[in-house]
Point group: C2
């Protein structure tokens, strides 16, 4: 068994947790739990979620396939810059297209950890307090992933999180376990 205690925060290796999943699948909620726990362990960390990136790197881009691809490539470029310098990164954009996620994987090599945040369109729509899915079903929002725009689930993600059945805390714990096994973060201190 890997001795995760060997990993101290000062010698942290970079990695990129690449979340992919529908709007409402749970990417942000799991990220929130995960960030709390990783910070407790003294890990450096940056979160590149869809909104942050659209604001700071991709203003002006829309939701066509081309624009989505450009947006995701920019996220990958920045995630690579950070992770290759030892800074862990969580990306939490929908990133619907397999090909572009695979480009990110190729760019980052074994630093890239794809996490499929899985929930059906129906469950995501039920959770949706902003009513975006309802508008998409009515055709009032065009190019809405999972409704009027494609979502291509990963074929071989490092982790699949079933958010229809697990809580966000449980899912965050699954990720922490994976990171510990790979000796990317120190093990939790006994309470």
């Amino acid at each position: 068994m890997a001795d995760a205690n060997n990993v101290s925060s000062s010698e942290s290796r970079g990695f990129c947790l690449w979340f992919t999943g529908l709007s409402g699948s749970g990417k942000s909620t799991i990220t929130t739990h995960l960030v709390k726990e990783l910070r407790k362990r003294g890990s450096k960390l940056e979160v590149l979620d869809g909104d942050v990136v659209r604001e700071n790197l991709s203003k002006g881009l829309g939701f066509s396939k081309e624009d989505r691809d450009t947006n995701i490539r920019r996220i990958a470029f920045v995630a690579d810059l950070l992770s290759r310098n030892g800074v862990p990164v969580i990306t939490a954009a929908i990133s619907p297209y397999r090909e572009i996620r695979d480009e990110a994987r190729e760019l980052m090599g074994d630093r890239f950890i794809e996490v499929f945040v899985k929930a059906s369109v129906e469950v995501c729509a039920e959770r949706d307090v902003k009513g975006l899915y309802e508008k998409a079903f009515k055709g009032e929002i065009k190019e809405f992933t999972g409704v009027s725009d494609p979502y291509e689930p990963p074929l071989n993600p490092e982790l699949t999180l079933d958010t229809e059945h697990d809580s966000a805390e449980e899912d965050a714990q699954k990720i922490l376990t994976l990171l510990e096994e790979r000796q990317l973060i120190p093990a939790a201190q006994p309470a």
Copy 2:
């Protein structure tokens, strides 16, 4: 006097060397010398030059004031992400507008080190092997900084490099000295 030997590469503090200057002023040449020396000292380092950023973060942007500002803001966003995580960054874009450079300064605080790479339009034009200045003088290239587009020199840069009189090696050394004084890099090992 600062004891720069206290700084080891493993505990490097992040900073952003923000070069600004005309096309042909010497930003890239100085960067090349600097990178070589910094890598020798074991420093992590990322270079965000104009071309890298236009390719990876700003494809589709032009050279209007608005587009230039957007481009520079993206560089600043990424430079901040890196430097706040302890990764030194060199940005080597023209960055002609004072206001946007000052935004970058505000974002990064004392991690931001503005380096004015100074040479007159005439000298830059003489150096220009690609003939860009000639085309700009003839009006064949629009919005060319220093010719048909503004360049606002910094008012209080941390360092001004006079590339009309100093060699690129000398200028790189001036930067290294400043970084040593600020204990941002370890002192050079005696030969």
